[in-house]
């Protein structure tokens, strides 16, 4: 996905479901990670959150258990109870770089290239493998 030109309309059901879940996961993991960080620093516990929100502790546990369909109001309440709020930024797909498979197309043998990085594993003189490079995973299958 990432291409929202009119030839892709109407949006596919799977893409809609994917981005909905992705959005939930990202918001939820940010919330849980923030709570875990605050708890580790001794700033808050689930019980204290429950008191601050006037809720049953079991409800707090449920909220922090899985990315459910809780509303933005609930998210705001939980963050407010921890003295925080969420910053938002909207990004166009077209402004993001594509994650790419990189294929080595030079005529040099793979080993010299492979040894240039600890993350590249040479298979033989012509092939090197699968590397994690910074934030992008690159697969180099056939060099030379």
């Amino acid at each position: 996905m990432g291409n929202t030109s009119s030839e892709n309309w109407p949006l596919k059901r799977r893409d809609i479901a994917y981005y909905r879940q992705r959005q939930k996961n990202r918001v939820f993991t940010a919330l849980v990670a923030f709570f875990a960080d605050e708890a580790r620093q001794g700033n808050v516990t689930k019980k204290e959150l429950a008191i601050r929100l006037g809720r049953d502790p079991a409800q707090i546990t449920r909220w922090l258990s899985a990315p459910s369909n809780f509303e933005l109001d609930t998210l705001s309440d939980i963050l407010l109870a921890m003295g925080a709020e969420m910053d938002h930024e909207i990004v166009r797909f077209q402004d993001r770089s594509e994650v790419e498979d990189i294929y080595c197309t030079t005529g040099t043998d793979a080993n010299s290239r492979a040894f240039a990085s600890d993350n590249v594993v040479p298979l033989n003189a012509k092939e090197a493998v699968c590397v994690t490079s910074g934030s992008t995973i690159r697969y180099i299958h056939a060099c030379g």
Partner: protein
Amino acid sequence: MSIDALISWRIQENALYPLKPRARGASLKRRMYVPPEIWEMLQRAHEDEQMEDRLGSLQADLELFVEGQPIDPKYLFLLYPARQAVWEIRSVRPAPSIRVLGLFAKKNVFVATNFAFREDLGEWQSREWKNVKRAALAGWRRLFHPYDPLESTNIQNLVTGAINGKYFK
């Protein structure tokens, strides 16, 4: 041959597929490889619209791992017995809940081996659970014998960015 090299061979023979985010520009911080049965399920359109929704959610849930999002025990859990080093990724919503089983080849490198619908598995000591765990181990051996999976009950030895918690029974 290193296990990285072996993974590469398995990719070349289409026995494993690297999971990459559908979303453009999503960054990859960890690696996950999936077997053909999961790969095809994620790639092919399903005739049932509800399954289309479900598979879109499953893909997003699996990508949470590769994008390096914080991991907690509600998402990743070490199955009993811990010495078998079989883990499950829980994709809970929407129903039906799905479990993707797999093992760690290295830190931050998860190899998914098989999946099951939670409703088919019953109680945690059931025969069905044993069967899917056996299938996971058999899948690992088929792909990586004689390499052993990375085995630890300390999540920090396996995943960068995991939230501390109890990841095993």
